[in-house]
Amino acid sequence: MSILTWTYITVGLSFALYICVAIWSRAGSTSSFYVAGRGVHPVANGMATAADWMSAASFISMAGLISFMGYQGGLYLMGWTGGYVLLALLLAPYLRKFGRFTVPEFVGDRYDSQLARVVAVFCAIFVSFVYVAGQMRGVGVVFSRFLEVPVEVGVMIGVGLVFVYAVLGGMRGITYTQVAQYTVLIVAFMIPAVAISEKLTGHWIPQIGFGASLVEGPNAGRYLLETLDAVQRDLGFPEYTAAWVGGKKSMVDVFAITLALMVGTAGLPHVIVRFYTVRNAAAARWSAVWALLFIGILYSTAPAVASFARMNLIQTVDGREYTEVPEWFNTWERTGLIEFDDKNADGKIAFVGDPEKNELKVDRDIIVLANPEIAGLPNWVIALVAAGGLAAALSTAAGLLLVISSSISHDLLKSFLWKDLDDKQELMAARIAAAFAVVVAGYFGINPPGYVAQVVAFAFGLAAASFFPVLVLGVFDKRTNRQGAVAGMGIGILFTASYISYFKFFGGVESQWLFGISPEGIGAIGMVINFVVTLVVSRITPPPPQHVVDLVDEMRLPREGPVAS
């Protein structure tokens, strides 16, 4: 069967599965809609968290990025997993014990301040919209490449599907669909990785094959990474495993970006809110263990896939006659993601480090998508990758949409504008807000603003510089008060947002970077500033009232039972 037929089968079956799960687990109350009734098993929540977290970027783009960056690609691996240690130790058990529905609600109650809550709502909605637009775009792109439908139609199908299970099912529907989506995406990621590892190195486990020797070709018996370094050197690229070479990021910048990604991860509302869905604080700790296991499987495999793909790509294309290229080359060339320009007109492809002589441009996104084809794996494996990419994008989109809808219905409507809303009306408001958010996300998926890529730095930077310090100090420092929290969040956001805006939109240049830190990494500094401001301002203003101190005391004990306010 052709790739197209197989793709229709895998995508159709996986969508049917999600719909069935969603119908079985639809929500009937606000508790069920916002936090899945707080009865999710830690293993199920671990899988749901993994799917929630791993987006189209993790599944489709990350291995490709690492493949082109070599050693420095490790900043994504460390940054996007290290945040879970912070979550597990500093936030998840306590926020769960606190027992609210949303992250802004925690901020509002802990600091006894509606202003702090509004600032938090604004950040939550902004960060989530930035993220979700990228996910819907990812859905559209996978559809257009694999199912040969226009991007717009792909986005509409994705919107329709998310609409069904996010609007009807709320957190409960999202949770169990995410469990199904994790299964689909991890199988889709691992099958090609295992097959390619076995082919190149003879080891079934990619994490071992990554450090093993090649089994065939002119370099048989030589370590994969050693060979890759040598081949890269010969072609004029920097060595794959080399750390600080010309044209790459500086050590300070890698340090700052890694820290910003870790802290940003721990501050992202759609990730934190997943820990609200388990039974108690202890279950939240175990849930983080499972989440990191499930995430770690993909994250430790991705760099192996990256090196295999780099090896395969160079071996397949460099020096080859253009007329003899394999079929996948032409397929991807038609999509514009591979470009060949025969500069010296010798009919051969030159893939080299020197931009004057290099004749081949390869888009990073195709590394994962085209890898099974490059490695010559069967058609059903290629089709499975499409289903996996869609699972990754849809599961993350749904989690983000829930944050947006609960921020609107619970934090804005119920607590400010329309306080006498009863549970049924609030549930209806949450559904309407979710529907509205899905439609807006779909619109941005079809008409992506040109600056989507630029604003992604905002999402992590703002999460790191706004939420993280206030949440951590809210648990660990009883002296931190409303004045400190509002000042810290305000200045943290202001600093980070102006730094990023200046360099992304107002023509700032690299030589002006503060301490050599790029806009992607500035959230790390924003976080430190927030911590300092919050601590200092809290200490020169009156201490928080006794009922807030009691609240913190109770929050620190994992025993069951709500923390009253």
């Binding site: 690492i66 050693y71 690609g73 490790g74 900043l75 691996l77 460390m78 997993t81 290290g82 879970y84 240690v85 912070l86 597990a88 130790l89 500093l90 058990p93 994490q207 990554f210 450090g211 093993a212 020797s213 370590y223 994969l224 990474l225 050693e226 495993t241 750390a243 600080w244 050590m251 890698v254 340090f255 890694t258 820290l259 202890a282 700790r285 175990w286 983080a288 263990v289 990191l292 296991l293 770690g296 994250y299 430790s300 760099p303 009922h547 009691d550 005391d553 109770e554 620190r556 004990l557 994992p558 025993r559 069951e560 039972g561 709500p562 923390v563 009253a564």
Partner: protein
């Protein structure tokens, strides 16, 4: 204001019974043990990726783990494994601590 432990909100400190003082002391010692454990685990959390994976990556790359230069391995593999072990240790140790202090 009433919490699960049954303190009425109006209770002032001079009315505390011996049992309540013991309970407070127990909670304080639980919290201190938690903070000590966290500090140790967070020190490892910081040292491995930032120390071994970034700052000392070049000297470590002189050593090899199979086909991996060691610093490269910490940046692309080792850190992830260490993170997992850290959260696992925390969950196990805290389960024990919760039981010892009767706060589960």
């Amino acid at each position: 204001m009433a919490t699960e432990s049954g303190h009425p909100p109006s209770q002032t400190h001079d009315q505390d019974s011996a049992a309540e003082r013991a309970s407070r002391e127990n909670h304080a010692s639980y919290w201190r043990s938690n903070l000590r454990l966290m500090a140790a685990l967070l020190a490892v959390w910081f040292m491995v990726p930032f120390g071994l994976g970034i700052v000392f990556v070049e000297p470590l790359n002189e050593f090899h783990l199979g086909g991996f230069p060691l610093g490269f391995w910490f940046a692309q593999q080792g850190s992830i494994y260490v993170f997992f072990v850290l959260v696992l240790i925390y969950a196990v140790m805290m389960r024990r601590l919760d039981r010892e202090h009767g706060v589960e």
